[in-house]
Assembly symmetry: C2
């Protein structure tokens, strides 16, 4: 299989880099926690001035900033550090596009612990930590709602605009509303729209605050509790099912989609936002790789292909499902028609 020439030139570097890749996680986390990127934006460009601004040691800042330079998040000319364009846009705390808050959820100890038990999860076929991330009122979902909100704003706007093309929705169900951004984007575009947000009670406090802050609080209604158990009511033109279904196996997805189907009016639509890997399940990389998190953190969740989502939606009673070409970054928008 391996030629002598290949053997000669092949090194174990990729393996060692992979083994050590957790160090990049820690370095980015530390840089966000210490606000290094904000410090550099403010004009602190040397280890001495960054260290003073970040209340850290000069030695620690020098080593951290060199590491961030090696990985391309900073650049270094002699002893002067600058921000890479994406660091300037997304990691400066004063940038409107700041996403550093995402570490609150993405690196929450429970999720790290789930991955730390990956070997057992592979053996067993699902999380070995009880319900994984899915126990009722898990405070990590409050972290999600707070930390991931900035990342949802732009996709929420794109989706709301996309959905309006087929007509305004007046009564909207937001299943697993989280920060509420997806429903709120619909409400801000249509003054006649009322949003009914379903999620754990602790999470809905965040959504209601966001709805109030964006001036739609009086048209924002809460359905606290498990999406599988609460009464959604009915007569909805539109249901939003965003970043939720990946946590469950196909029968459970079908069950929930059926509950959504029943809640919709004739002519109603469900907008599903999800990671959608290609049928090969190894592309596109981010969507396909998300399966690993579902293996580590849930019993039987997964990143499902379009064909699988289509099949589950059909089984739930939907007439057809369309994959929207809208560019949401990591996720895709699917529209299921009642």
């Amino acid at each position: 299989m391996i030629t002598p020439a290949e053997r000669q030139s092949t090194t174990p570097e990729r393996f060692f880099n992979a083994i050590n890749s957790y160090q990049l996680t820690e370095a980015i986390k530390s840089a966000v926690e210490l606000d290094v990127f904000t410090a550099v934006t403010e004009g602190n460009e040397t280890t001495a001035t960054i260290a003073r601004r970040c209340q850290a040691s000069e030695r620690g800042i020098r080593i951290l900033c060199d590491f961030l330079t090696i990985h391309g998040f900073l650049t270094k000319q002699a002893t002067i550090y600058s921000l890479a364009p994406d660091s300037a846009l997304f990691l400066d705390r004063n940038s409107p596009a700041y996403v550093g808050s995402a570490i609150e959820f993405l690196l929450t100890p429970r999720l790290r612990e789930c991955h730390a038990h990956l070997t057992e999860a592979v053996r067993q076929g699902g999380t070995v930590l009880g319900e994984g991330m899915l126990h009722p009122e898990n405070p990590d979902w409050v972290k999600y709602a707070r930390g991931m909100m900035p990342m949802a704003r732009r996709p929420a706007e794109i989706i709301a605009d996309e959905l309006r093309k087929d007509g305004e929705a007046r009564k909207v169900l937001d299943v697993a509303a989280s920060h509420g951004m997806f429903g709120i984007a619909v409400a801000t575009r249509n003054p006649a729209a009322h949003i009914y947000a379903s999620d754990w009670g602790n999470v809905l406090e965040v959504a209601q605050k966001n709805a109030d802050a964006m001036g739609v609080g009086d048209r924002y209604h809460l359905i606290p509790g498990s999406a599988f158990e609460t009464d959604f009511g009915n007569g909805y033109d539109l249901a939003l099912v965003t970043n939720l279904l990946h946590a469950f196996d196909p029968p459970t997805c079908t069950k929930l989609m059926h509950k959504v189907h029943v809640a919709l009016s004739p002519g109603g639509r469900a907008a599903i936002v999800e990671y959608v890997p290609n049928p090969d399940r190894v592309s596109p990389p981010v969507a396909a790789a998300f399966s690993l998190t579902m293996l580590a953190a849930t019993d039987s969740g997964d990143a499902y292909t379009f064909a699988e989502r289509d099949s589950m939606s059909n089984a739930a009673g939907f007439a057809r499902v369309e994959l929207s070409p809208a560019d949401l970054g990591r996720n895709r928008l699917l529209i299921a028609y009642r």
Copy 2:
């Protein structure tokens, strides 16, 4: 600083990938622990057969193997997985070049914990976990000696061959001998050579076993204890100081190099094996990045440039230091002449 066009095309993907990069660490660790690469080498190429061989769930293996494919360690054609050339060479347990044992040390919990406290380490300028990795008889160094031995074999041979060009050494001091491979390589080339190995007692058991296995055990002598406190004796032609000095600050390095200098005969040499970053401290990437581990895991260790090593060796009494062009992979060989 950022043009509107750049802003448009700039995404936070690199940030999210960096945040999640710990998942690659966990996936590679699981694959090694479950022996996935060995299973595929043996002809198990589908999720069903790999799962049976690895005593794991089919769902877990499918998700893990897809993740490894996304990261290039496997390839996938329809439902058939194959090994990338470097995976075949280094991660199949039956390959003579197998390096999977490295996870025992590189991912030892103590080291992970040091990095998990990186933010505090940056604030403080060194490890916040007491002596970090450097407490006496730390069993992690036994893991190092066992796990890193395969990686040391080839560099040890290259170094031994390189050093012979200047004449055979008869009395050799191996400071921080660990697995012993560097001294053993000298002994196997010169039947007149005697090796005096210094390291913690628990580590030297591994070195002695390796020396016995390679037929040089009767010329292998042990100096158990801290390299800073034990009596090295004197009259050495050659001292090996491999992968040790990075753990200390310059005055401590100078102190140890002075102790080595005193132990050498006139005309003796010290061979130093180390990460040697360029003066910019951000290249080459692996050598430069090693500073972060020293920040997290030691009080004041670092990856030192050639100029810094030269200066410490001179202060310790050495006449001159040469940087060998020998290709050792991640490390460099420096020769300090008494």
